[in-house]
């Protein structure tokens, strides 16, 4: 029996065109020589050259990278600890239920409510301590908060795959707890930790709403910069910037697919 009708195939190709057509148009028009409007004025790489000399864009790109790397680093540590603490130790059923609700809360909360919650939390902290202006630090804290759960869930998946036997064997051989943790458990969890970190990194790069709410005046990121520029009208420079970001995304996704545990099948 045929599992995919001709209609489905044609429909799917149309859907792929629907998904890629806008992105392709941006890439094409990033090489358009004419400055105003969308009339083709010949091939040019002028906008890419201008991009490299635009200090605001370079700053935003640097901020995006610092934000993603720092938040991924912190959330990978905290998320891995959370997964080990929750799923490698005995908890009463009631405590486990509560912890599970908290663990899934950042995953199910809509972006905008998450952002509002962070804004309220930051303003309370600022009110009580007088510190903590909105800026890079608040953005990092915000990103870490939503990344923790995704890392913990990725590590949990790995924890469920590996049994207790190797740890027990290590203990029988008089390894102390620290040794068991660093030499046995963490190396065995590494595929899950790496998967979680990659997920956290892409989530940070992909985020707009939480950065938009928690950014300060000096801490613009690339998505924030593009959003602000669009309000002033679309320019070929933004086409070029978007094209570079799309290329970076394609590379990241391809890399993640290669690294993914199921890739060999």
């Amino acid at each position: 029996m045929k599992r995919c009708s001709i209609g489905s195939s044609i429909g799917s190709v149309a859907i792929f065109i629907f998904l890629y057509l806008p992105m392709l148009s941006v890439a094409v028009f990033s090489f358009n020589a004419s400055k105003m409007g969308l009339k083709w004025g010949g091939f040019s790489t002028e906008w890419y050259e201008k991009l490299v000399h635009n200090q605001m864009i370079l700053n935003a790109a640097w901020n995006t990278l610092v934000l993603a790397v720092t938040s991924t680093f912190i959330s990978t540590i905290i998320g891995t600890m959370l997964a080990i603490g929750m799923f490698r130790f005995p908890w009463s059923r009631r405590a486990m239920n509560k912890l599970n609700v908290l663990l899934h809360l950042p995953v199910v909360t809509p972006d905008i409510i998450f952002a509002v919650a962070l804004v309220i939390a930051f303003s309370v902290i600022r009110y009580m301590t007088g510190l903590f202006e909105l800026g890079m630090a608040s953005m990092i804290v915000g990103h870490v908060t939503f990344q923790i759960s995704f890392v913990a869930l990725a590590v949990k998946g790995r924890l469920e795959l590996i049994g207790h036997d190797v740890e027990e064997a290590a203990c029988d051989l008089y390894a102390g707890y620290w040794r068991v943790l660093t030499r046995v458990l963490l190396p065995m969890l590494m595929p899950g930790i790496v998967a979680g970190a990659m997920l956290a990194f892409t989530l940070s790069l992909d985020d707009f709403v939480i950065s938009f709410f928690t950014a300060g005046p000096k801490s613009s990121t690339l998505p924030l910069f593009i959003y602000a520029s669009v309000k002033r009208g679309i320019t070929p420079e933004i086409h070029a910037l978007s094209t570079i970001i799309m290329l970076a995304t394609i590379c990241t996704v391809a890399f993640m697919q290669k690294m993914a545990p199921g890739a060999k099948h």
Partner: protein
Amino acid sequence: MQGENLEHAKEASTIILHNGEMVRPSIIRARQATFISPGILAIITLLALPCISLFAVAFMTRGQYGEILFEPTFGNIRRLLGFGYFGWSADNLLILWRSVVVAFVTTALCIVLSYPLAFFLAARPAKTRLLWLTVLLIPFWTNLVIRTYAWLLVFDSDMPFARIMAWLGLMEPGTSAYPSQFAVYVGMVSVFLPFVALPIYTAVEKLDWSIVEAAVDLYSNKWRVFRHAILPQTLPGLSVGITLTFVPAMGMFVVPDMLGGARYMLIGNLIQQQFGTSRDWPFGAALSLVLMILTLGALMATSGKRKKGRA
């Protein structure tokens, strides 16, 4: 089993076996508390408590300069229901209603488009399937702002789409196809399509085709094959897709902001306004509260369906 072990060991002097290690229960408790506390503390203080505090902030007063005054009031709720300074208007309720409708229609459109896509992907030979999946994942991981921005370009008055529509007499010549309701739906569907297509694909990949073949052998028409042989088997994937789309679609503000303009606002835009330019946090909190309740309702409805689907 280990949990019982720990509870039976009453005093700190008892030693129990945990993952092959002989330790006191108090040490185990200290360790598990250390492991979970940074993460759980962050989630509680930065997300859970502020979400609960919305219940309080929604009933406070906005000061003259946008500060929050601790004077209890029902003003924000009244305003949300449309009772303003100039009598009753349906504006806010309309925005709320529109958000639910847009989320609902977006989800429905995504489901209709996802089934053919899922069957197409599942029918690819194993060698190229990963490549096709990657092709679907790339838009999924591309930044939301860039993808929405790309639609602005496609809908521009100089591009073929607006010209064809003008030629057909469906639009004024020389105008862009945005801001419009149509543009918002196109943007929303393109953003959320992978969220529905991927879980449905996972379900279709595991499909038991013998049931489908049996239905075909018994002369079911196409709709009945889908309704009775395919839909029940893909229900778990479908409900995951609905949750992943309906909930964020209700709170979406980037797409309606860029493609819909000021006349096609959703609740997300209204919330953003209160925390941005208007600086009216109590009213923003009241709006967020409504969105949170709608989200909880949607989550409960789909999780109920998921349990039924399994039974």
